[in-house]
Amino acid sequence: MKKIINQPMDFVDEMLEGILLAHPDQLKATGDPRAIVRADAPVQGKVAILTGGGSGHLPVFLGYVGQGLAHGVAVGNVFSSPSAETMFEATMATHGGAGCLYLYGNYQGDVMNFDMAAEMADMEGVSVETVLAADDVASAPREQWSRRRGVAGIFFAYKIAGACAESGADLDEVVRVTQKVVSSTSSMGVALSPCTVPAAGVPTFTIGDDEMEIGMGIHGEAGVQRGKLQPADAIAERLTADCIADQSLTSGDRVAVLINGLGATPPEELYVLYRKAHELLIDQGIEIHRAYVGEYATSLEMAGASTSLLKLDDELTRWLDAPARSPFFEQQ
């Protein structure tokens, strides 16, 4: 895959410079250039939401730092964890006296580093709670929750936790709501092509010209089934059915749907997928409250898509519908 970059080793820092130059009204750096926070941070008296992870997934993670979303982010190298110190720096630059929620995807490198950051913050008297996004149905059965990876469904967690924190809810309340949203979110994806980490220069995996892999992770982690490329409707059926089964959704339930593109798959194709997912949900009597279709969590230029379903109750619906604004996501 050809890339528009300079030196591979400068990729992440140059990307961050570009983002800060483009959006100075919304974002600012801290003492650590990899720790980026909202321009209005710290937000006094409200819970600060911190996130972070490897680069290469925009809008995840940095793209969800904004009004009604997260407050700060620690940015790692491509597909690599940020350091504990960067997360600590972001924490100290955002916390406004009401405690912090660490909200990020369940990857061990991130967990270890952010746990260390939380310990450092604790030593400074800043209390931190952690909620992990673990929506990827393919990575482990629901009973083995702690082994599940976080993928595109983390978008719902940012949206809802962010709105809840913005309202002035205390840390316990924000944690309770966020735990509810992550455990009510299921995602399933399909990958059609690999991507290339700039510093590596070779594709993360190989896949046949007529193949796809169901359940592959967003860094190329092995999925549950590799096979011939299927028509869009068959893919939509598989992804939707797996999410429905994971949540045990039944007639009368209400959901939000996210059809996410992994990078190279055009929005046109995402809407072909949505069409079928919509039909399947409606056929089973499941109400669709909102649909999000587009690139919400990517893997550089990987081709593929994922379906996420969030089971809604009145509380989650209210926070989901609240306005939000970042350089990568706006909802009025």
């Binding site: 790692g76 690599s80 964890s81 061990q108 580093n113």
Partner: protein
């Protein structure tokens, strides 16, 4: 004849050697991690130990504990990852043991490795047999305890520890991963030596060689 304690100067030289020796094996570590992980361990040790070496330049006058602590943080700052976080954790725990010591003997080293092992277990919630670097670190820790018990010389004790770590790393070939990234495809991991355990064995062998030669 090899010395029986390590000074502040030894610690700087030892870390430099460990950095060089491990970096020299980066490609092997990359390959192992590519086989059962995400293939970044090669770049992780290259960047991480590069940062350690750079950091050592400014630690010429620091005490042993500070050198260990700062080196661990420098590594993970530059090459944050599972391995980076665990390396920083190990170094921080070791630094705590070394606190206040001008020189360290086999007894302290044994205690430092035991504490490092404890730190890794707390941080990563894995244990012996899960196909992680614990499978190299735990036998090394046991070997060191034995060496102290039997009053071995420093160089001999470290050589025992390195042997034990290498055996432990080799034995991970048979295991199926139960922790970290590779646990997602646990079944497919049998037959490949764990990259993190391999790195720990390389590091301990390098430390042992330093003491033997100095």
């Amino acid at each position: 004849m090899a010395k029986n304690t390590l000074t502040q100067g030894d610690m700087i030289a030892l870390l430099q050697r460990v950095a060089d020796d491990t970096t020299a094996q980066a490609e092997r570590l990359r390959e192992l991690d590519a086989a059962i992980g995400d293939g970044d361990l090669g770049i992780t040790v290259t960047l991480g130990f590069g940062a350690v070496k750079e950091g050592l330049l400014e630690l010429a006058d620091a005490d042993i504990s500070t050198i260990l602590m700062r080196s661990g943080m420098a590594f993970n700052r530059k090459a944050a990852s599972t391995f980076g976080a665990l390396f920083a954790t190990m170094m921080m725990r070791a630094a705590r043991v070394a606190k206040g010591n001008e020189e360290i003997s086999l007894a302290e080293i044994s205690q430092m490795v035991a504490e490092a092992l404890q730190g890794v277990k707390e941080r990563g919630k894995a244990d012996v047999g899960d196909k992680t670097l614990i499978d190299a670190l735990a036998p090394a820790s046991e070997a060191l305890a034995e060496a102290v018990e039997e009053d071995m010389e420093l160089a001999v004790g470290l050589a025992h520890a390195a042997d034990a770590a290498e055996e432990g790393a080799l034995a991970t070939v048979e295991l199926k991963s139960k922790a970290g990234r590779s646990s997602w495809f646990s079944e497919r991991t049998a037959g490949i030596q764990d990259p993190g355990a391999t790195a720990v064995a390389i590091m301990l062998r390098s430390a042992s060689e330093y003491v033997k030669k100095s």
